[in-house]
C-alpha cells in the first residue's frame, strides 16, 4: 500500500497529492510518469510525477478531475492509502544547454512541465515560460514557474487574469519579435500542443510535446497508447511520453482518446448517484 501524505485542491477541480512511494521517489527523473490504482476495482491511471523527495520517499502528483476514477482519487485524504503506485515510467526528458528554451503550458499541463522546466533552467538555459488557461481559476503553479523562469508570461483565454489570449498568441509574438528560440516544450491539452506545433513549424523551431494517450499496463505490453509519429507507430509508455510535435499525428491521438467517452459517462453517473445520494461531481 502507498499512503497519501498530503491531499488538497489547488484550483477548481485540480488536486495536489503527495504519496509515499520510496522506490519511485528514489529513481524518478523529470518527464517521467507513474501509474496508480486506488483500490481493487480501480483502473490503472497514468499521471506525470511533478516532484519527488528521495529522502522522505514521496512523489507529488497534480491531476484534474475528468471522470470517475480521478473524482474518486480526489476524495482521498491524507492518511488513506493507494493500492498501487508503479514507476517511474517512460523516458526522462533529454536535458542539455540548448540556449533559449520556451516552455509553454496549458491548464493542468503546467504540472508536468514544472519539473522539466526546472531541469532545463538548471542546465544553464535561458528559460521563458508561457503559462495559460481558460480563465483565472485554472491557472496553477504560477509562483513556482515564476521562481525558475527568466521571463514568465501568463495568459487567459477570457482575459480574466493577466494577458488576454492563447498561449500561442504569446508565442507568436515572441517569434514575430525575432526572439531567438532554440527549443519549445509544450504540455497541455492536445489541441493546445497541436496549435503550438503549428506556430513553430514554419520557423523550424524544434518543439517537444508530452503525450497523454489511454494506457493500461504502461510497460510496453498492451499497445493501447500507440500513436503515429513521423509515419511510424510508437508506444508512448516506452518510447515517450515526449515526441517531436512536428511529427505527431494529433488528429489520431485526439480520436483515440475519445474511445471510452460513453463508458466514462456510465461510470460517472453511477458514481454520482451511488446509493441514491449525490456523491460529488459538478454542481
Amino acid at each position: 500500500m502507498f499512503p497519501i501524505v498530503e491531499s488538497r485542491e489547488i484550483a477548481k477541480n485540480v488536486f495536489f497529492q503527495k504519496i509515499q512511494a520510496p522506490r519511485v521517489a528514489k529513481k524518478r527523473k523529470a518527464g517521467q510518469f507513474l501509474v496508480l490504482r486506488k483500490g481493487e476495482q480501480g483502473e490503472r491511471i497514468p499521471l506525470t510525477i511533478v516532484n519527488s523527495d528521495p529522502v522522505e520517499g514521496t512523489v507529488t502528483i497534480i491531476f484534474q478531475v475528468v471522470g470517475k476514477s480521478t473524482a474518486e482519487l480526489s476524495q482521498m485524504k491524507a492518511g488513506e492509502a493507494l493500492q498501487d503506485v508503479v514507476g517511474p515510467l517512460g523516458l526522462a526528458t533529454h536535458v542539455e544547454n540548448f540556449g533559449t528554451v520556451v516552455c509553454v503550458c496549458g491548464g493542468i499541463g503546467t504540472a508536468p512541465l514544472l519539473p522539466i522546466a526546472t531541469s532545463i533552467k538548471n542546465a544553464g538555459n535561458k528559460l521563458v515560460s508561457i503559462v495559460g488557461a481558460r480563465n483565472k481559476d485554472l491557472i496553477i503553479l504560477e509562483d513556482e514557474m515564476k521562481a525558475i523562469s527568466d521571463e514568465l508570461i501568463v495568459t487567459t483565454d477570457d482575459g480574466s487574469y493577466a494577458k488576454k489570449g492563447f498561449v500561442t498568441t504569446a508565442l507568436q509574438e515572441m517569434i514575430d519579435a525575432k526572439t531567438k528560440i532554440d527549443l519549445v516544450i509544450a504540455i497541455g491539452p492536445v489541441p493546445m500542443m497541436r496549435a503550438v506545433s503549428e506556430v513553430t513549424r514554419p520557423h523550424n523551431i524544434k518543439t517537444m510535446v508530452s503525450l497523454n494517450p489511454i494506457m493500461v499496463d504502461a510497460t510496453g505490453m498492451c499497445g493501447a497508447c500507440r500513436v503515429t509519429v513521423g509515419g511510424e507507430t510508437k508506444f508512448v509508455c516506452v518510447d515517450g511520453p515526449e515526441f517531436d510535435g512536428h511529427l505527431v499525428d494529433f488528429k489520431e491521438l485526439t480520436m483515440r482518446n475519445r474511445a471510452y467517452l460513453r463508458e466514462e459517462k456510465v461510470a460517472m453517473e453511477k458514481f454520482e448517484h451511488k446509493d441514491g445520494k449525490c456523491m460529488g461531481g459538478s454542481n
Binding site: Q83, V216, G223, T228, E263, K270
Partner: protein, 476 residues
C-alpha cells in the same frame, strides 16, 4: 470432496477415455465461468485405472518438467488424491494451472502407449483433478524450506517461469524475492488467459502457495525502470538474478487503419477483460467496448481466447480471420473446438488488407482477401498466396490483433552486458539459463519467444538447478 475407495480395477483397454463434463456452449457464451467442470472423484478413478503403468513411461519424457506421471496416476486409481497431488508437486509447483492450459496432446499424452490403439490416458484432466482436490479440501501441504544458504536471488517477473524458479530455489534454502511489474503476480496466467479457461482465484492460490513456501513477492516494481539489474546485484545485495519477463511487445501488421479506435492488440483486449475485469464494468472501473461485430486476426491460442472473450462480452458476430487453413493453425485442437462450438465464425484462408473507419475514427470495416496455400515457407507451413480479385469487406466494430508478441525491451535496454539476438530476446544457454552477464540467468518467452506455460516452467526448472549450482560453487 472426499477421497473414495475405488472398486476393483477393470481390465486395461476395457475402459474408454472419460470425457470432460463441461458447460453447454449455449450457456457458457453468456458467462465468464470456467468451461470444463472437472472430473468427479469417480470419473478420475475410472480414468486413472486406464493407465497400464508402463515400466519405462514415455509420458514422463514428454513432460517438460518430468512430472512423475505413472506414480501420481496410480495414487489416483487407489483413491489417494492428496498423496497424488504431493507427488506431482515434487516436480511441478503449478499443477492446477498446467492441468488446464498445458498442450497435453503434444506433450505427455502424445507418447502414451494407450494412444497407439485408442485414446491416451487423460493425464492433464487427472492433474487438474488432484490439484483442485487438494485446494478445495484445504489440505495443501507446505514443504519446509531447505536450510538457509544465506544467498539472495531476485526473480524478475512473476509469471510461470519466475514462479517455478522461485519455488525450486526456496526449497534449496535460498532467500528469494519475486519482482512483478503489474499489480498481481501470475504474468500471462493473470492478464492473458481468460477466466473461463483459467479462473484467476486459482492462479492466485498457486501464487500464494509459492509465497507460503517462502518466496517473497513485491508487486508494482518494474525492473529496468524502478530498479535496474545492476542495482539489484550491487546495491540490494542479491547474489543472482533470474529474468523471466515473458513476451511482452504486441505485434501489429503495419497495414492501413490499424490505429483506428476499436483496433486492439490481444494483450490490451485480454488485459482489460482478465486482469482488470472489464466484463464486470461498471463495478470494476476499467471499460471495454461492447459491440456487435468483432474480427480477431490470428490463429493461435491467444486468438481463440480473444474471440471467445469477445463473444462473452456480448458480440453477435465474431470472425476469426486466419490466413492459412485449419490444419496449420497453431492453436490447440481443444481450443479450436471450443471456439467452434461457441459460434465463432472461422474465416480461414483470409487475410486482412486494411481497416476502414468512420469520421470519428472508429473502425467500421475490415477489407480481406482470400488466400490459397502454396509451397512451404521457412516455418514449414504452406505459404499463403493471395487469390486475385478476391477482396471483400466485413462490417466490424472491434478488431483484435492476435498475431504474436516480441520481446519487451525494458530489461535489456537498461542492463549493460546482457546480450540479445536480433529480435530482442535475451541470449541464454538453453540448459542452464546462463546469460552473457555473470550472475544473471534468463528463461521462458524472453529467451525462446512466445511459447507455452509449461515450456517456460521447464526452462525455470533448469535455470533453478543452475542458479543453485552457481550460488553454492561460485563457478560461472
Amino acid at each position: 470432496m472426499a477421497e473414495i475407495t475405488p472398486k476393483p480395477r477393470p481390465k486395461p483397454f476395457s475402459i474408454p477415455r472419460q470425457p470432460m463434463p463441461e458447460q453447454p456452449a449455449s450457456v457458457r457464451v453468456k458467462n465468464f465461468n470456467e468451461v470444463p467442470y472437472g472430473f468427479t472423484a469417480d470419473l478420475a478413478v475410472l480414468e486413472a485405472q486406464r493407465c497400464i503403468q508402463c515400466k519405462n513411461p514415455a509420458c514422463v519424457k514428454g513432460c517438460p518438467v518430468s512430472v512423475k506421471i505413472p506414480e501420481f496416476i496410480d495414487l489416483v486409481a487407489k483413491g489417494k488424491f492428496a498423496e497424488a497431488a504431493r507427488k506431482i508437486k515434487e516436480t511441478n509447483a503449478l499443477p492446477a494451472v498446467c492441468g488446464r492450459v498445458c498442450p497435453q496432446e503434444e506433450q505427455c499424452e502424445a507418447p502414451c502407449v494407450l494412444g497407439k490403439k485408442g485414446d491416451p490416458v487423460a493425464i492433464g484432466r487427472l492433474e487438474r483433478f488432484v490439484a483442485d482436490f487438494e485446494r478445495v479440501t484445504g489440505n495443501v501441504e507446505i514443504p519446509k524450506p531447505g536450510a538457509s544458504t544465506g544467498k539472495k536471488v531476485a526473480i524478475v517477473g512473476g509469471g510461470p517461469a519466475g514462479l517455478t524458479v522461485a519455488g525450486d530455489l526456496v526449497a534449496f534454502g535460498h532467500d528469494v524475492t519475486i519482482f512483478e511489474a503489474l499489480h498481481k503476480a501470475g504474468g500471462v496466467l493473470m492478464y492473458g488467459i481468460p477466466e473461463f479457461r483459467l479462473p484467476k482465484d486459482i492462479v492466485q492460490a498457486e501464487v500464494e502457495y509459492i509465497q507460503k513456501c517462502g518466496a517473497k513477492l513485491e508487486c508494482d516494481v518494474v525492473i529496468g525502470k524502478t530498479i535496474t539489474i545492476d542495482e539489484l546485484l550491487e546495491e540490494e545485495g542479491f547474489d543472482a538474478v533470474f529474468v523471466g519477463t515473458g513476451a511482452g511487445l504486441p505485434y501489429f501488421m503495419n497495414i492501413p487503419g490499424e490505429n483506428l479506435i476499436g483496433v486492439y492488440s490481444a494483450n490490451e483486449y485480454l488485459t482489460r477483460a482478465n486482469l482488470m475485469k472489464a466484463y464486470d464494468f461498471p463495478t470494476s472501473d476499467t471499460p471495454l467496448s461492447k459491440v456487435k461485430n468483432v474480427a480477431v486476426v490470428g490463429g493461435g491460442n491467444v486468438a481463440m481466447d480473444s474471440a471467445r472473450t469477445a463473444k462473452r462480452m456480448g458480440a453477435e458476430n465474431v470472425y476469426l480471420i486466419y490466413r492459412r487453413s485449419k490444419k496449420e493453425m497453431p492453436a490447440r485442437i481443444e481450443e479450436i473446438h471450443h471456439a467452434e462450438e461457441e459460434g465463432i465464425d472461422f474465416r480461414l484462408l483470409n487475410n486482412p488488407l486494411q481497416f476502414i473507419g468512420n469520421e470519428d475514427g472508429w473502425v467500421t470495416e475490415v477489407e480481406c482477401q482470400v488466400m490459397e496455400l502454396g509451397e512451404p515457407d521457412a516455418s514449414g507451413r504452406r505459404r499463403p498466396v493471395p487469390v486475385k480479385d478476391s477482396e471483400y469487406k466485413l462490417p466490424v466494430d472491434v478488431v483484435i490483433m492476435s498475431i504474436g508478441n516480441g520481446a519487451n525491451p525494458l530489461v535489456p535496454a537498461t542492463t549493460p552486458g546482457l546480450d540479445t539476438n536480433k529480435w530482442g530476446n535475451i541470449l541464454a544457454d538453453q540448459e542452464t539459463g546462463k546469460t552473457s552477464k555473470k550472475g544473471v540467468f534468463a528463461g521462458g518467452d524472453i529467451v525462446i519467444g512466445a511459447a507455452t506455460v509449461i515450456l517456460a516452467m521447464g526452462a525455470g526448472r533448469k535455470a533453478a538447478a543452475a542458479i543453485h549450482d552457481y550460488l553454492m560453487t561460485g563457478n560461472w
